[in-house]
């Protein structure tokens, strides 16, 4: 009985998140299969076969699988599920949509966002926005898990030499159709896997002022994030949001600018290695989790910071 990891990809590239799930899988056993379901995704399957720790790749290609619609993908995963002991995906928006649907088809209670593997049926996971960590034991025969990406290092992209086997799609369920997408384009590192992140909050006052963060981000190769307040106010798009219900990040360096530090925001970034807070309010809760705090006017500080980093 092995482990099946559902690959996250866009038919072109294998997303790094998949490799976090592979690492979690290797804590459960050594027989790790990756499922690549898509259309024209042979390249993704080849990339998955090279990931260290992967022993087999299943490739299902069909038009109805092109956009990962859970209605079409879940029946396929559930059918495969009977022959595996563990089904895993990283807790991305795609993984979160798919896995509960699979779990219900298998009559399994999923364990969401595991942070560690404590035993063959025992896992830790965050509850209450990460203000408590629960250790839970599953009594289901098949374990359906989503994995918190920041809790498991990505498996090396090279080192494996798995075989690729083609399997058939279960067809179009006829329940849903992909219409389109608007993806934020950025030359910067991807937020959830960036080693440095600089985020802005309500204190930024408007979207234009995020240029101040970009100037600093350019100097240190950082991704840009935001608090819910900044997204709600329309300063930046939704995919910038870091927090309990947004993205979970744990970079080496997190710089919070003009962010007060609501518990929902802290939930998304407090596992960062080093946290810097820049805020004019010295009482802001963000300072309670910051390794380095700088109290002052961000509109004065940010240009200075960009300049100072430029000196190197």
């Amino acid at each position: 009985m092995g482990i099946l990891v559902i690959a996250e990809h866009d038919n072109q590239t294998l997303k790094a998140a998949t490799r976090n799930a592979v690492t979690a899988a290797t804590k459960l056993g050594s027989d790790v299969t990756v499922l690549v379901a898509g259309e024209g995704a042979q390249g993704v399957a080849d990339a998955a076969a090279k990931v260290a720790g992967v022993t087999k790749v299943l490739l299902a290609e069909a038009p109805e699988l092109a956009h990962g619609l859970p209605e079409n993908l879940a029946p396929l995963v559930a059918e495969l599920g009977g022959t595996y002991e563990y089904l895993l995906a990283t807790a991305t928006s795609a993984g979160k949509s798919l896995m509960p649907r699979v779990a219900a088809l298998l009559d399994v209670q999923q364990v969401s966002e595991i942070m560690s593997v404590e035993g063959p049926d025992t896992f830790t996971r965050p509850i209450y926005a990460g203000n408590a960590i629960a250790t839970v034991q599953s009594s289901d025969k098949v374990k359906v898990l989503t994995v918190r990406g920041t809790a498991f290092d990505a498996a090396p992209a090279e080192g494996g030499s798995a075989s690729v086997e083609k399997i058939a799609s279960k067809g179009d369920a006829g329940l849903s159709k992909f219409i389109g997408q608007e993806l934020s384009k950025s030359e910067r590192p991807e937020l959830t896997s960036a080693r440095r992140v600089i985020s802005g909050g309500r204190g930024m006052q408007n979207g234009e002022n995020f240029k101040l963060l970009e100037a600093v981000a350019d100097k240190i190769g950082a991704a840009i994030g935001a608090s819910r307040a900044a997204v709600d106010a329309g300063f930046v798009p939704n995919d910038y949001q870091v927090g309990q219900t947004g993205k979970i990040v744990a970079p080496d360096l997190y710089i919070a600018v003009g962010i007060s530090g609501a518990i929902q925001h802290l939930a998304g970034m407090k596992d960062s290695k080093v946290i810097v807070a820049i805020n004019k309010d010295s009482e802001a809760p963000i300072f309670s989790v910051a390794d380095y705090g700088l109290v002052g006017d961000l509109f004065k500080i940010m240009p200075e910071l960009a300049e100072e980093l430029g000196k190197a």
């Binding site: 859970p70 928006s93 795609a94 979160k96 798919l98 896995m99 509960p100 649907r101 699979v102 779990a103 219900a104 088809l105 999923q110 364990v111 969401s112 966002e113 025992t122 509850i127 926005a129 990460g130 203000n131 408590a132 960590i133 629960a134 250790t135 839970v136 599953s138 289901d140 329940l175 849903s176 159709k177 992909f178 219409i179 997408q181 608007e182 993806l183 934020s184 440095r196 997204v231 798009p237 939704n238 995919d239 219900t245 360096l253 929902q264 407090k270 290695k273 080093v274 946290i275 810097v276 010295s282 300072f287 309670s288 989790v289 390794d291 380095y292 705090g293 700088l294 910071l305 100072e308």
Partner: protein, 248 residues
């Protein structure tokens, strides 16, 4: 069209949650309880559909202890028409989905709008599970909902930005933060809500086995971060990041 909206009673989002010293859970004694914020957005969306003449009836359902009646009353004050309390404590998402499936079939609903996750256990499962059990399409993390003829077009907040999907009715929608801004219930509406119909059933009445599949072995506080230092200048900050933390 009839719309079902599940609402969960959770610790208020402003409360700082404390772990019990014996590690069995979090302290719920004398803590302010409220409706899960994502469920409030779901109720608001359903009520707007009714106000737009696209839905005839909005049914709010809560699965929990007797006090969950208060949560249902809140939904009724926002504008739901009637409520159902399923008295079942500690139900896991799969059991909740089974209960909701039974209710959706019994009430003949065409649309179920749920919060994408509850802020207590942060599972983010129930809507997707319910969709699977009913064999319906699902639109998770909705930021815009357009009801059409026999279908619903939903803009969803995904990791890379926004995705638009078209889902055949009957369907499941789970709400994200920016779908709408829930109204405050007015005093007259709160008074009116007290007179609205609220039925009580049990999971067993609905033929659902709600026995848990997961066992919580312990609950602990996350590791605390050590107290940091305040720096006085940008130069000092950059120096610390370079030479002390060594992260740039």
């Amino acid at each position: 069209m009839r719309v079902l909206v599940p609402v969960k009673r959770v610790i208020d989002y402003n409360v700082k949650v404390r772990v019990k010293p014996d590690g069995t859970g979090v302290d719920m004694a004398n803590v302010k309880m409220s409706m899960n914020p994502f469920d409030e957005i779901a109720v608001e969306e359903a009520v707007r559909l009714k106000e737009a003449g696209k839905a005839e009836e909005v049914i709010a359902v809560s699965i929990g202890p007797a006090q969950a009646q208060e949560t249902i009353r809140t939904a009724l004050a926002i504008g739901a028409d009637r409520g159902i309390l399923v008295t079942q404590e500690g139900a896991e998402p799969l059991a909740v989905a089974k209960i909701l499936k039974a209710l959706a079939e019994k009430e003949g609903v065409q649309l179920v709008i749920l919060g994408k996750q509850a802020i207590d256990d942060d599972s983010n499962q129930t809507g997707q599970m319910l969709a699977a059990l009913l064999g319906w399409g699902q639109a998770t993390f909705a930021s815009k909902v357009e009801l059409g003829d026999g279908k619903v077009t939903v803009t969803r907040e995904v990791d890379g930005g926004l995705e638009t999907d078209e889902i055949k009715l009957p369907a499941i929608i789970t709400t994200d933060l920016r779908l709408n801004e829930p109204r405050y219930a007015s005093l007259p509406n709160i008074m009116k809500a007290k007179k609205k119909q609220l039925d009580t059933v049990t999971a067993a009445d609905l033929g659902v086995d709600a026995a848990p599949r997961l066992k919580t072995l312990k609950v602990v506080e996350p590791p605390k971060r050590g107290a940091g230092v305040k720096v006085a200048t940008v130069q000092e900050l950059v120096d610390k990041l370079k030479n002390e933390a060594k992260v740039i």
